[in-house]
Symmetry: D2
Subunit: 338 residues, 4 copies
């Protein structure tokens, strides 16, 4: 009955099994095991291009570590004004970059547009007195549960590339986005101009590892030392690597995301007029009065008020392992609100 | 046959089981689960005092995060010239503190002494032109496999406290030290003046979590936000917490360390005249010529040359799960060298 | 004929003389001279309270150094969305604080209000996932040439204090603000709740020194070492100190600012309908079409287009040493535009 | 009678005059004046190669700003164990680089040698767990008043270049070194492999400006924004630039240094057996018992005990403007000690 967060979801049995299979002694610590050594190849297969893959313990680490490799201390990062990197990561980008600035751009439904970026850029100068952007950060799926189509990513990345900026993608719910789009993961990343991707696993049935994927080998060069120095390099690296491999090698990532997305569609169908944003991933944002929210909570449903979207907004997240009956019950309860 | 590193050791079945037991969905993500919520109490029980406990993914993270809570960017940390924080953590302290300095103090067998600290301090001034120390970092067991007795820790911590310094302990092999000393963990930490401890689990049969323990509540205040901001706060925190609980709640940590220590004693007994340092934990440092090392490696034994201790030095680490037969074989092979 | 910037102004002869008077050899370097030693007392006299005064080479240094003493690396600073600290200091706050965030608040005419702060704060949470503010930064006079009255400062500082925030004031044109208000400098700073002030001298007839003034002795504690470590502590400190003393000890600061303010009033009177903001200091922002700007420039007048205020905005700054005839000529030229 | 520090010296009249000559209003602030614009060319003339020159307010700023342009946050700097950057700059390198490490190398008389660097490097590994050096920092003249000959600089720089390291020179007393060597400034810098130089002026008759000179244009690229962001870019840049030009355009820097060096030679001649190091610049280090030091101080001579060189060491610095009679008196007093 809980639709608070996909961070509360369970771990898929295949991930647990992979961890158990890696539990014996190994010849070497750190990344010197067979799982860690297979990471690059496995993600390269998945994306159809050479990928450098780094296991990290959180999405915050993936985003901040990646951006630190693109953005000097005196640089800036264009991002949406509701981006997780600004709103929910406690200043991690400032920490990892040693002081770079997030340059916030508002635009509807969590999606940046070239027009919105142009408007923000027009207010800035290129001289030594102002922070100069070094990267563009996109969130896929967005914080509003919307998804960028490949052509939208390409347009934004093109804007960035024309200005010499790296393109980073926060993909905490990347699987949900790809499941929605039905494209290949390549289409919406490197083929569209994305240089690095925080490939989310934990919300999607993983346990304790996310993958930072770098498509531009040059940008990956400083990441090993930055990762070590941040304490993100596990001394028994095989457990993180094994989790990531189990998530992608059998297609589990897409299968789990499809399930969660379907649940979100079921909720959306119950309240088409209450939707604050199109439902394209596993998050549903509804217009609900305080009384309506109270009614739902009284029936045992858990969800967050969502002040960022206004006083009458609520967020429901559907997990990969959400109980079908709970989804149906919530859909029915919402429908009953009228 | 491998004595390279305890980071290559396997994971104890009890840890694996604990992870599996935590794998179901939970009401809340991050640290909002029953395992995370039990951490403080469990470590408080173990140490017999109020402890704030933070799960982190590596010993490097534990050390650097802890020191950042004690040491301002313009401060310094007294530590042994062979300390892991300087030699093997890629500058993590500089990163987490935003530029503090490690102030290296040489002394024999990896153990700091009050005399060595006095000599180093005598060369420094207290004015604004010099970095002023804000902490003392001790390693227990040391990088040379030696162990500080409670009175030694107390003397060093007393020296630090008299100068207003926090006392941090890198306990990557703390379990081995306590197993050797036969004291309570409290005796060699807070009762002796230690303010915070990186309580190592991974080398000792753990999987992917270490504990940063803080005995001084004031020093713990900034750690939650620093941990989040560093990407060290897992979105499914229960897995890290469950590992730590499984390690300490049944005494597994001491049992595992005793086993590894015993193996090291068996090796030491085979070559008393070759010992570079007293063997007090699970590491054995031997004087071995290049030819002797070659002889051992030809028999399949793995170990590191140890340049820090000179051209004829080698390090053997005994794991918690080291095969008894392999230890005996190595002891015999060393004895055969004469 | 140049109204581009008060940074291009000349140096007052009294400042030059003070520098010359300090040029002989001294017993000690750094701050060990009679001028440096007099700084605290001189500013304490001026403000009628105990002040710690630090000479720094730029306003950017004063702001960033001061904020670094109030704001931890994981903290944030509320400031106006057009504040110099964000728009024109190249990320200095991020550098000096090691990664703190500027939290931008829009509001009209460059002036923060309690309502604007409340609205911004209502969108944020107090948990560990978000950057928590540690300071409020006000600009006096503002970037729009407007001035906060003592009661306005007090209301804003009260809002900050109720939330445990330090209050920092960027006073690059503080003299112009005080000249406009006709109050004592104390009324609009510490008496109204301001903890530290960047007391601007350079734009106002100074040469190469600004003063960072701290009214809360506790907040001043870390500044000496931060100043040294930033390379801001001059090895012959007497020259900076002598400049500051010459600026304040005879009232030169107010006299110069009054002159500049009067020039701005003369311009404002020539075009009351074109004013974008009330003219309260030495800056005048006018609505001027591109053709009108071209007309003025063709007559030899220098000024900046001001995109932050829209496509038809221009900024004119009157210097302390602006030629009276040039002001009259510009006023006439503006009046002729109709 | 004061031989404490050249930071206490007076300012040469030519510098004062240059400042006065720059005091009128200018068309533009910051570096947009004729003096600032002439800096690169003037230093390029002096060094016979293209130089990028940046005025900064202190030697600490020059060193740290320069090193930050060469050394990433995760990098290290080889330097002498008595180097000013470690001993007397309050951790500025850690601040400007966001956490890089100084890697200290002991060797006699303040001078690094290839052998000493080799020995230090042999104790380190090239893997991701250790900080990797990115620069070599040399001090010319050294902290012991000794001077590197061009061939010595070339050997050290060659060692660095073979390892891909930048070569930075702290030249707080560079003028004294060149005066001693009688070579061109080029011979002991870029021709010998030095990439950047902190060209000291303040100790040598300057007022408040030092020059950071960069011989490798690529390394200079990030310096303008780093300088601005550190608050080191003066809003009236002409005063710093005018000081630097006055120091070099007429040869004043060499003339002043020759005078100070000659004074040091006079002192050295009085006590050849007491010299701790060869006297090659304007500093004299003598072996003096506490009683002997007391005798000298009782006669009114000022100087520092120098613990770094042992309990019986004292340092005497001769200023560019040191009174000839005071030097003779001190020489006689030392000679009288026997």
């Amino acid at each position: 009955m809980d639709f608070l967060s996909d961070n509360a979801a369970g771990v898929h049995p295949a991930i647990l099994k992979a961890v158990a299979d890696a539990s014996g002694a190994q010849p070497r610590g750190y990344d010197g095991d067979q799982w860690s050594e297979r990471l690059d190849a496995a993600f390269s297969d998945l994306f159809g291009t050479a990928v450098k893959a780094f296991a990290v313990p959180s999405g915050t680490a993936a985003n901040a570590l990646g951006l630190a490799a693109c953005v000097p201390p005196y640089g800036g990062v264009w991002c949406h004004s509701e981006a997780h990197v600004d709103v929910d990561e406690a200043g991690a980008v400032g920490f990892y970059t040693a002081g770079a600035s997030l340059m916030l751009v508002p635009s509807p439904a969590g999606k940046l547009t070239v027009d919105a970026l142009d408007a923000a850029a027009a207010r800035r100068r290129g001289d030594v007195h102002q922070v100069q952007a070094a990267a563009l950060s996109l969130t896929q799926a967005t914080e509003c549960g919307t998804v960028y189509a490949p052509a939208e990513v390409a347009a934004l990345a093109g804007w960035a590339k024309a200005r010499g900026l790296a393109v980073q993608m926060d993909g905490a719910r990347f699987a949900n986005a790809v499941a929605h789009l039905g494209c290949s993961p390549a289409d919406v990343t490197w083929r569209a101009g994305v240089d690095m991707l925080s490939f989310g696993c934990i919300k999607n049935g993983g346990m304790a590892a996310e993958a930072l994927l770098v498509f531009d080998a040059k940008l990956a060069e400083t990441i090993p030392v930055r990762r070590k120095r941040a304490g993100l390099m596990p001394s028994k690296g095989r457990f993180a690597a094994a989790q990531l491999l189990a998530m992608i090698e059998g297609g589990l990532w897409l299968e789990s995301a499809r399930g969660a997305n379907a649940g979100a569609q079921a909720l959306a169908a119950a309240a088409p007029k209450r939707l604050l944003y199109p439902v394209e991933a596993n998050e549903v944002f509804l217009r609900l009065t305080p009384a309506e929210r109270e009614t739902l909570r009284a029936q045992g449903f858990g969800f967050y008020d969502w002040e960022l979207a206004g006083p009458d907004a609520a967020r429901f997240v559907v997990r990969w392992d959400q109980d079908k009956a709970a989804i149906d019950a919530l859909a029915a309860a919402i429908a009953r609100l009228g």
